[in-house]
């Protein structure tokens, strides 16, 4: 029964995903991708569980989980920050036409 329920969730979220994402304009494809990338780091939750459930050091499952936590955290933290950095560059510029700061720094 549980499996059926989970599969239902899967199908529904695939539909929602397709609906939402096909509306993103091409200009924002890179931030979209890196954002999605950060979300895939949600495996972190699973990794936390894997680490949390074992109590003896030296356990293989503990080390697997620990490595997974490091990987997933880099993915999540890095992915979000990078996406944020990119999106902030896409903000509408107020002073159009003037030579920007970044260009004069070069």
């Amino acid at each position: 029964m549980e499996l059926i329920l989970l599969s239902l969730v899967l199908v529904l979220s695939v539909f929602v995903g397709f609906e939402l994402i096909s509306k993103v304009p091409a200009t924002l494809h890179t931030p979209l991708m890196s954002g999605a990338n950060a979300i895939s780091g949600i495996t972190l939750v699973g990794a936390l569980l894997a680490v949390g459930r074992s109590d003896t050091f030296g356990d293989l499952s503990l080390w697997l989980g620990a490595t997974a936590v490091v990987f997933a955290t880099i993915n999540v933290v890095g992915g979000y920050l990078v996406t944020d950095r990119m999106l902030s560059m896409f903000q509408r510029k107020t002073s159009k036409g003037s030579i920007p700061r970044s260009a004069s720094e070069e």
């Binding site: 096909s22 949600i42 503990l62 989980g65 490595t67 990987f71 880099i74 260009a103």
Partner: protein, 412 residues
């Protein structure tokens, strides 16, 4: 997402706090530094390696899940998450290497590649079945599947050349989502399933957009190198070079200018000087816009990010389908480090390997200025008749240096 993490920490019995905190700290620090320090031009590598880490984490989570349950459904989903996670991980590392140019970025094809891939696939299937029949966390078949998945990831990405990278990155992105989804099934976690399938869908949509923009099927991107199929038409003619000074006069007198950036602009890090030139032209009363081909660069939206970094306003970035009908009314089209995406033979020459790929019709503009290091053909190895067209002038040299020189002409 933070909520999901905190809830997990609170509502499950966590026994090894110190370990967890250390790991979270390491991950956060590495992630923060990596994302702050990376240059925008290296963004494709960054996305690739993050993808790989996500896939790797799913592999490990699936594996660890076996220590707590060996039911049939768990075994099936674990093997899925291990397989997809493994392919994502090693494939992304190779993609990272190719994008960072410490691996050759052109397609690497060796004899018998298809046979080896076929053999690998069959053995993976065999081992998967053996594992499911007798699941255990230390099963020899599990180890073999992990090893094979990593090998398949490497072999799958090696033959893919630089210009196909946008497709591969989006595909790997999709895989990392599917892997997270499978891991979610393995540990019965709804959050993982929902988030994973969203990412899977996002990656898949991007993949199909990229394929469409190259007029190639996913299968042909994945399984064949470029260009070997048909002999490209040779072009007789002479390319006409132009001096920096003349470029200045041409641009100075133009009333509409369209700039078409490509991967060459990213390599030369020329986005800031391009922006400066654009601003000078605008001050001069010229209408400036930037035409972006969907697969220009090495990842979806690559050019948009670079130009946004250089402070080009969002409204000036125009998609291919919007700019093409207007092209005939454009005075000067400036092609910066782009080649195949402006090659008219994709439109006119049915023998060309890239025939059918949608292009930006720069050849319809009154004057086309092409900034390029040499006359060498682009990634697809196809000669570009654009360079020999009567209305084309070539400005040879490094894009950044050339544009800086033109900018200086404007200032003096």
């Amino acid at each position: 997402m933070l909520f999901a993490v905190v809830a997990t920490l609170l509502f499950h019995e966590i026994l090894s706090w110190p370990m967890l905190i250390v790991c979270l700290a390491i991950g956060s620090i590495v992630g923060t530094f990596a994302s702050r320090l990376i240059a925008m031009t290296s963004m494709p590598e960054m996305v690739a390696i993050f993808n790989g880490l996500g896939g790797g984490a799913s592999l490990l989570v699936g594996w660890a899940a076996l220590f707590y349950s060996l039911e049939l459904t768990v075994a099936v989903t674990v093997i899925l998450s291990v397989l997809i996670g493994g392919v994502t991980f090693s494939g992304s590392v190779i993609a990272w290497g190719k994008l960072g140019e410490w691996l050759p970025s052109k397609s690497i094809i060796f004899l018998g590649q298809r046979w080896i891939n076929g053999l690998l696939l069959i053995s993976v299937l065999g081992c998967t079945v053996c594992f499911i029949l007798d699941p255990s966390s230390q099963s020899i078949y599990l180890y073999i599947v992990i090893g094979l998945a990593l090998t398949i990831g490497i072999l799958a990405v090696l033959p893919i050349g630089g210009a196909d990278m946008p497709v591969v990155i989006s595909l790997l992105n999709s895989y990392s989502g599917i892997a997270a989804c499978a891991a979610g099934f393995a540990i019965n976690n709804v959050v993982l399933i929902v988030a994973g399938s969203l990412v899977g869908a996002a990656g898949f949509i991007l993949t199909s957009i990229m394929c469409k923009a190259m007029n190639r099927s996913l299968v042909s991107v994945l399984f064949s190198g470029f260009g070997a199929s048909k002999a490209a038409q040779k072009i007789d003619g002479e390319a006409r070079a132009i001096s920096v000074e003349d470029v200045y006069y041409v641009l100075e007198g133009a009333s509409t200018v369209v700039i078409v950036p490509g991967y060459g602009m990213a390599v030369a890090q020329a986005q800031h000087v391009v922006r400066e030139l654009g601003a000078l032209l605008e001050d001069n009363g010229t209408e400036v816009s930037y035409a972006i081909h969907p697969v220009a660069g090495r990842m979806p939206g690559h050019m948009n990010v670079l130009l946004a970094e250089a402070n080009v306003s969002y409204e000036q970035l125009i998609e291919m389908d919007v700019i093409n009908p207007r092209m005939a009314a454009v005075d000067v089209a400036v092609v910066i480090g782009a080649n195949d995406v402006v090659n008219p033979s994709a439109r006119d020459d049915s023998d060309s390997p890239i025939y059918g790929m949608p292009i930006i019709n720069v050849d319809e503009a009154r004057i086309v200025l092409v900034l390029k290091r040499s006359l060498a053909s682009g990634f697809a190895g196809v000669d570009n008749p654009l360079f020999f067209a009567p209305n084309t002038r070539m400005l040879f040299g490094d894009a950044k240096a050339s544009i800086s020189a033109v900018v200086n002409q404007f200032k003096t």
